[in-house]
Symmetry: C2
């Protein structure tokens, strides 16, 4: 393990802002991106956290991401928003959608936002969670560059495409209860684990990935050149395709197999897509929702050995708020170097 | 294997109608139920097909299902319907929702139907498919009596709760292409396979289910008293909980662990719930959808060894239309006996 250095969340935020602003990103966009990356780091999702800063900065520096983009919102119907992320970072576009969507969902019971010309959307569940904190049930779908083959095939066509969902937990019954957040990639393990093994020269367990010929492999480099194994075999591959429809086809974005890398500064913009659905559960259930979700959550919380999905994320967040986040020294050194030497 | 007898789809339909009408079900409701069961049988989904007739008839006979129920529709907002299935069969309520939802989705981009006081909703993907045939992207969520434990626990709290999704495939590009339909239970195998093994006195492979103490089992009876293993371990259990929120909490229906059996005529009504979401992809994508979905589907169809999800279902349907369906003789004898002896 690399040595780590512990930063407070404020220190981490300021450092990310400085690194992005020094690399052709507007200060408000940099602050928005920093909030998302630091929140993911605090939640223990380091694959969507500070480790992304060097590749984000490389992309804003090269212009593959437009750090000065202003997302544009189109209010299409009382239940539908379209957002053009302008080939900038995803987070400013998602923030814009999340600011307007709740009022629409509360008025009509359901509303949808379609975000196109977008980028890496990070910790998917965090976007849903913000809607659940406002009393709404939410889905967020976003695609990612190719990693998973259709079942039976060998060519990666789909991203690891998470399914992310959040639901408010009965404020009337338990005012302090955090929303239920479900956020899972449809691959058996996160691709970041294979990337980390490749970087460290380690092997990976069998069952994580296939090589380019479709055979099981424990070689991390062969895995990176091959495909990620989906959960539930054909079922996970089908779920990855479903997310591809929802995130890309539904908004007019690049499909996973067309999207450029989210890690290199070279190439065309990835042009990914995201879809957010928000539902007012009080309206759909004629007021029954609060008691029903409380009964469901209580059944899981009182089951010996079981935990609600997202529990470890919330525990990590509480620790990070109290103690800060421990960042690997090499990543921190890279970010500090980016912040010190403006490139733009 | 039991001997089978082959019926045309019309013969199968008429027989199911007769069995239900003879057991306290209104003729129009019986026809609606028969259409769904015969369609599932034709699609090779026999667990949602004619095998259900004896238990359906037992429930309408006892009054656990009200065979004379008239679903009631409440047009809550321009994007939201609530449907009270009246503790009758699910299919008439779903038909009512599916008749009204498309116009709402086309007007606003998205619309939702919440169905409460409902029953077994059968082949989940078939309901989505009807929306996709009308050019809409659709989700259907429905819960089922308890089978899956929260991850780490031993008590079944969630149903095998399918995720069902359908998307139209570019009528402009390929007018003859069937919609993409994804319909998968979040358990590793269908519960019906374990029920069939128990009935036949066979063991089951390890990996399908756990016994009541949470240990792996190959004993079908022990499995029926225990829990079904979800896909992707904790991930599948989380997806089952997500569907429980969408199908039950969101509409005010029974949770899986509160719902009575769908197989016995005894007890209170199961009072299950369903939610349908319909989206107009032309509106969300500003017209880009057709080309995008065609590119995605073509990439899968041209990948050696891969097939679109739902391919085997479509092949079975084509065979059934040409050749009829082969129904196990014991099931057919039961249905014929029900049709011959009115009870009610």
């Amino acid at each position: 393990m690399a040595e780590t250095e512990t930063l407070s969340l404020t220190q981490a935020h300021d450092l990310v802002v400085a690194a992005l602003v020094a690399n052709r990103t507007a200060p408000d966009n940099a602050a928005c991106v920093a909030r998302a990356l630091v929140a993911a780091e605090a939640d223990g999702q380091s694959g969507h956290g500070l480790s992304r800063v060097p590749s984000y900065a490389a992309q804003s520096r090269s212009g593959k991401v437009d750090g000065f983009a202003r997302p544009a919102l189109e209010d299409v119907t009382p239940a539908l928003l379209r957002v053009d992320a302008g080939l900038g970072f995803a987070y400013p576009a998602l923030d814009l959608a999340l600011a307007v969507l709740p009022a629409k969902a509360r008025a009509l019971g359901i509303a949808i936002a379609a975000v196109r010309r977008s980028h890496h959307f990070g910790q998917a569940g965090a976007h849903c969670e913000r809607l659940a904190e406002q009393g709404l049930v939410a889905f967020v779908f976003g695609n990612a560059p190719k990693s998973i083959a259709p079942w039976g095939g060998r060519t990666p066509l789909f991203g690891t495409n998470p399914i992310a969902f959040a639901a408010p937990v009965a404020a009337s019954v338990d005012p302090g209860h955090a929303p239920l957040v479900i956020d899972l990639a449809v691959s058996r393990v996160a691709k970041g684990k294979i990337m980390a093994a490749e970087k460290a020269g380690r092997t990976i367990p069998e069952g994580w990935a296939l090589d380019a010929d479709g055979n099981p492999t424990t070689d991390a480099s062969a895995a990176m050149a091959g495909t990620m194994i989906p959960i539930g075999e054909a079922k996970g591959a089908a779920l990855a395709m479903m997310v591809e429809v929802m995130a890309a086809a539904l908004v007019g974005a690049s499909l996973a197999f067309e999207a450029s890398s989210l890690f290199s500064g070279d190439g065309a913009p990835p042009n990914l897509g995201q879809t957010i659905i928000a539902i007012d559960p009080g309206l759909t259930s004629a007021g029954a929702y609060g008691e029903r979700i409380a009964a469901l959550v209580a059944a899981v919380e009182t089951e010996p050995g079981a935990r609600l999905p997202g529990s470890s994320r919330l525990a990590a967040r509480a620790r990070a708020r109290a103690e800060g986040v421990a960042v690997p020294a090499p990543i921190l050194a890279e970010i500090r170097a980016l912040a010190a030497c403006p490139n733009g």
